[in-house]
């Protein structure tokens, strides 16, 4: 059984009607720039659901781009060698996202600690608290601030699952799931 964190209701499979992008960790490598290019692309794709040039289309483009960019930045920063797979879908006026990548076992434990610290509190209060803490301690890296910004300022629901490796000490399969209302 995978270990689940956050809002487990948003953890799901993506099948028919979903759009899949795979960022190959090939000879060119995955660079920081790919986060921006990929998130802009998905923002453009889904903003086409609304009348071009309208306030709604602008809002959808921005919100989808922002969400994908933040999760993808995290994936790129903390992943173990391997591809990143992005699944997206719009259903019932909601944009649904899954970003899957490998992460080292040690990295998975550290991330689970960050996630446990985000649970059970109002994300808006926690965001301000964390900003204050980061400002007071220059060694703080600001981990979790991006996730809190998504939850607090964008109303995004987030969930995670961690699947143990088949071989001992192998990398863990991490799935990050997000739901964003487009209404």
């Amino acid at each position: 059984m995978p270990q689940q964190f956050g809002n487990t209701d948003v953890i799901r499979t993506f099948g028919d009607g979903s759009l899949r992008l795979r960022l190959f960790d090939g000879p060119l490598g995955l660079a920081w720039k790919h986060c921006g290019i990929t998130s802009d692309f998905l923002g453009d794709i889904y903003s086409a659901l609304s009348t071009q040039g309208s306030i709604e289309a602008n809002e959808i483009r921005h919100n989808v781009t922002y969400l994908v960019n933040e999760i993808l930045e995290n994936a790129l920063k903390f992943k173990a060698p391997g591809d990143i797979v992005i699944d997206t879908l719009v259903e019932d006026g909601r944009f649904r996202l899954r970003i899957a990548n490998l992460i080292s076992e040690e990295g998975a434990l550290r991330f689970q600690e960050v996630l446990s610290g985000l649970q059970g509190r109002d994300p808006s209060d926690l965001l301000i608290e964390r900003i204050e803490r980061n400002a007071a301690d220059p060694t703080e890296t600001g981990s979790g601030l991006g996730l809190l910004t998504l939850m607090s300022d964008y109303g995004v629901q987030l969930g995670w699952d961690f699947r143990k490796p088949a071989e001992e000490n192998g990398p863990v399969q991490l799935g990050t799931y997000a739901v964003l209302s487009l209404a």
Binding site: N58, H62, Y66, N69, G142, L145, G146, D153
Partner: protein
């Protein structure tokens, strides 16, 4: 003082710091040169600092953290005022800039 790349430009006029473009740098360290530019303005001890974000279309959460840290630095200067100018047509600004007022209630936030 100016920092310019193909994606963004930041420049200073008196005590007004202007931001333009799309900023998605990889973290606190990558934002350091920008923080230094902002600190130069702070260290000149003006009565009021203005952050003009009207042309800044995109800022990732690491960049928002930079603005938050700077707001806290200004808060420590009891006699210094801070004005933040944003745009209602840029969604991240109307969503995230009000957080700066939670950090520093006397910060003035104007949307155009």
């Amino acid at each position: 003082m100016e920092i310019k790349t193909t994606e963004y430009r930041i420049w200073v006029e008196d005590a007004v710091i202007h931001y333009e473009g799309t900023m998605r740098l990889s973290g606190t360290e990558a934002y350091q040169p920008i923080m230094e530019l902002m600190h130069n303005v702070l260290n000149s001890e003006p009565e009021e600092i203005t952050l003009d974000l009207v042309g800044l279309d995109f800022l990732n959460s690491s960049g928002i953290n930079l603005l938050a840290r700077f707001t806290i630095e200004v808060r420590k200067q009891k006699s210094m005022a801070i004005l933040v100018k944003g745009s209602t047509r840029i969604p991240w600004q109307s969503k995230s800039l009000p957080n700066l007022r939670k950090l520093h209630p006397s910060l003035q936030l104007n949307f155009v």
